[in-house]
């Protein structure tokens, strides 16, 4: 990036800040309010959202189909040892999965949905190792001798061990690899630097090839030069599809809704379902309290701890804190002070939404 660009960007940030301040402070009369828009009922809006009439359907289909003739090139690039990175406007999920389903049938393919909130990379690595293991078994039975008996099962191994297994020189044939298809490698579930470091290490393994998509304009900032040049070894392809971000946008609240109940319930339920049963029960305790005492500010920590301990849900405050940190990270739980100055925990949902959520996770 030119230094001019950097300066401009820095200037942009400060300008934005002062503009925001100015607008907040002055409270200009001319500001027209969102409430002036005759916002439709949320249910109707959601229905309309689900049934938006597609524009340029044929052109979009033609555009996506036009990429099919590049599939053979993409496979060649993958076989040459590069990682494929698709970028451009529009959801690339269908395109990538179609590519994998049609052109990569010779290889095992695992799909990671980076647009989801929580992804356990250790589990991904275990699955990758299992797939590779199966592939190696098919290819050459003699290689099994080295690993089968004397090594511990894959799922109990450490991440370092799994990565060295994926990188191991099991066969002279470079062609034995498992494909990792990452939808939105810049998505919320994968955006932290530790996860990216692990992804880069996985991508650098000799038995792994990575195909990924990015949507965010600043996605390259996630990687340093080592990751880009030597680990991911990206081969960039500009593949705009203009396809709607249906799944990727699922977790964004609709801007014109008064409250994002339905959306939040859905998001919260997905997050909760990915947690342990004990964590879910802790959440239920809090939810039950909030539903029983709708007028209160929330539940004091000590009360929650006592009830959870009595129910054998947690053994110590540390365990409870670990659950609460997880909830807070996903904005499922917040704190505020009550009139006694005591910090109280509450779930930022209406009683109706909360009931629905409790119902969903109880199923």
């Amino acid at each position: 990036m030119d230094s001019n660009d950097v300066e401009e960007e820095e200037f942009g940030f400060s300008r934005n800040y002062f503009l925001a301040k100015e607008l907040c402070g002055s409270g200009k009369k001319s500001m027209r309010k969102l409430s002036e828009i005759n916002i439709t009922d949320e249910q109707v809006l959601r229905e309309a959202y689900a049934n938006i009439e597609p524009k340029h359907e044929k052109e979009i289909k033609d555009l996506v189909n036009s990429y099919k003739k590049s599939y053979s090139e993409w496979v060649f690039v993958l076989r040459c040892g590069f990682g494929l990175l698709m970028y451009g406007f529009g959801s690339k999920k269908a395109l990538l999965e179609d590519f994998a389903s049609t052109a990569l049938t010779d290889y095992s393919v695992i799909v990671i949905n980076g647009y989801l909130q929580s992804i356990n990379l250790k589990q991904v690595a275990v699955t990758l190792a299992e797939l590779l293991w199966d592939q190696l078994k098919l290819q050459r039975k003699s290689t099994l001798g080295n690993h089968a008996k004397d090594q511990q099962p894959l799922h109990t191994r450490s991440m370092d061990d799994l990565i060295s297994f994926l990188d191991g020189p099991h066969l002279e044939d470079d062609e034995c690899f498992v494909c990792v298809l990452v939808n939105n490698i810049d998505g919320p579930g994968l955006r932290d630097s530790e996860t990216q470091q692990y992804l880069a290490r996985i991508a650098a393994c000799s038995h792994i090839r990575m195909v990924a998509s990015i949507d965010h304009v600043n996605a390259p900032l996630l990687w340093d030069k080592k990751m880009v040049h030597t680990q991911f070894n990206w081969y960039w392809y500009h593949t705009p599809t203009y396809a709607p971000y249906k799944v990727e946008g699922m977790f964004f609240p609709l801007i014109l809704t008064h409250n994002g109940n339905t959306q939040t319930v859905k998001t919260a339920s997905i997050v909760l379902q990915s947690l342990t049963p004990n964590a879910q029960s802790v959440f239920k305790v809090l939810a039950d309290h909030q539903l029983a005492h709708p007028d209160e500010e929330g539940m004091p920590f000590n009360n929650l701890y006592t009830i959870c301990r009595e129910g054998f849900l947690v053994s110590s405050q540390i365990t409870l804190n670990a659950h609460l940190t997880e909830f807070k990270d996903h904005e499922l739980v917040k704190t505020r002070r009550n009139s006694d100055g005591e910090d109280c925990l509450y779930i930022p949902l209406t009683s109706e939404a909360l009931k629905k959520l409790v119902q969903e996770i109880s199923q």
Partner: protein, 728 residues
Amino acid sequence: MALEADPSSSPSIPTVESNLQPFFVLHKASQPRKSTIKARRKIDLSPKNSGSSTEEYNDSLRLETFQILWSNTESIIKDVMKNLNAKVFDEIDKWVHVSFDEIRDCRKLGFTSATRPYPILNSASIAAAGACSQIFTALLFTKNMEFVDDILTFADLGVYLRSHGCYVANLTSLDFSAKSGVGGCLKTLLRQFLMVDVDAPDMSILASWFTEQENCENPLVVIIDDVERCCGSVLADFIIMLREWAIKIPIILILGVATTFDALRSILCSRACSYLSVCEFTLGTPAERMDAVIDAVLLKNCESFSIGKQVSTFLRNYFLRHDGTLTLFFRALRIAMARHIYAEPLSFILRKLVGEEGAKGFDAESTLLRENLLKRALDLPSLKSRCFQPSASYADWDCGLSELKKLRRLWSSTVMCLYEVGKYRKMTLLDSYCEMLKPELCNAGGSDHMPLAKDNTMSSYNHQLHGCPQKECYVVRILQTVRDLPSVELSKLLNRWEMLTRGITEIHEKVKELQSQTTFEENRPKRNPAEASKRPTVRNHINEKTDKNTINKKVAAFLQCIIRQYIHPIENVPYNEIVFFDDVDKLETALIGDPRRRIQADLLESHKFLKCSCCGKNGGVLVPSMHDTSIMYSLAQEHGDLINLHEWFHSFKAVVSQPVPQAKKRLRQSPSPKKRKRSKEPQTKSDASIQAEFCRAVTELQITGLIRMLWNILQIQSGNAFTCRNLW
């Protein structure tokens, strides 16, 4: 690709449930894969594709060509790097052994003290141990802020020291993170030395391993490759811990430092610093390495794959102005190679050019090649322009390719000769390489004021040299440098040329001739200096000067001659398409991407990509048929950095609600009631659907990162929402 209906291998179709799973297995490998050049299922994407076996064969051939070329290039690069570092590695190895001997001399432990599971360090032991209580530390200055280039260097150093009888552990800054603490690096250390994973890492484990297994006869070396990026406190703790154990486990440290000695002082506390007994070593600069790589990969290995002027100029500029890493250069070369092999049907010939057997050996290939060769050969622009049609016989091809190889060798030697002169002007080899690929250079050959008789022995492809560029070009500067060189330097230059051109008879003979002339001049009996000083005349001075000038002129004339003969624009060289890759746009897109600019362009010029007839005609005016997010982003461009959501919505509504003139027109023409109904829709669009479209467009802009919601403002204004663009 046509997929066989094989239930066991048929790909699972992603479902709604799978969309919500963090990860899932799309499908397992359908069959065991076989090695290259073998029958395999082919992705049959082209409907016209009749000979799938040809395609299969081509695919395998391409991959095999790439693997041969890249492994060849990679091994050349590795060798170059090893040779560049060999001297420093050797010095470090000697230092390690000297240091270890010193430690051994003062480290005399009884069996009982050696096997105690705790460190022995008290004032008495320190006094006894003397210098050994300090940790011998080598600072290896990389002279390069870009650490990525040195990863291989440190790995090589590890291999080198291991091969010289050391136990080596390679650690990186990731092992010294605040999160994992000293335990993390100790764990890695044990993993590398003992080859085991230890849950509770402890130095005593290492101590017992070192003492018990007679490992103590070999030095223990820990290499930390990017010390500036380590967490200072963890590194300091690590050093303090090593010092406590210094007598039992005398570890020798090698630290990679990108900046200066001060870097160590700034990250370590003074106590940790005082425990280090430092020795300094320095690696070559990135520019030196780049020159060595260009020399080995693009000049000495010139008969194989190469890059054209646009690509080399792009890479030079990107190296100098943006990235500055050799690693990017290697990656670019690899991408260029893959791209070239995929796009150029005749690229498989490159593997023949790499091998010792030269261009021969086509007969052994399948008959499929014959078709390929002839079909493509008819299209080669370099042959078309010369009205030369290769016959079906392979003899023509062999001959043509041998000629190409010969020309490339002569070209490379000439560039190397020029680079040797360029060194006096501090020019890099990459500069010389790029300059020599410029077509105007051929003109420059005649720009000098010394017209030479044209030598036509090699000039069957010579095009007419004419014209005189106005500006001083590279060659003119080089020639001037040669003319101005003092005779000693000139003689050295000729010696270097003599070495460089060995094996290239055409140039080597002439160089030797010039060399003999210089030697003759030097050996000519000179007058006694005392006598000369007695009778200093103007004539003597003039004579000496003239002699010097004559030989310099001869060398310059020789240089001019070889430039004229052997430096041709690559476009004029027959079969150049097989060897040269020069599609800079493709390379740039594959290498860098530039998502910010591209995604913005996707939205602002959506009609170009969608190739629709309705949106692009109005010269940038927004029409309702455009993609919603495109409309929204275009509207956002009209606002400042902050957008009032209300105004944005109304602007959007105004655009999508306006009647479509084309739709009206079509309505009149088309009697179909179905069409009529559809074309009326924009006018009757409900508020709900407009709001839904608006919501979706905002969400999509958020996903692309082109806008970000400032929620705090949203709350403060209680109803007024602002959107801020261009933030993460």
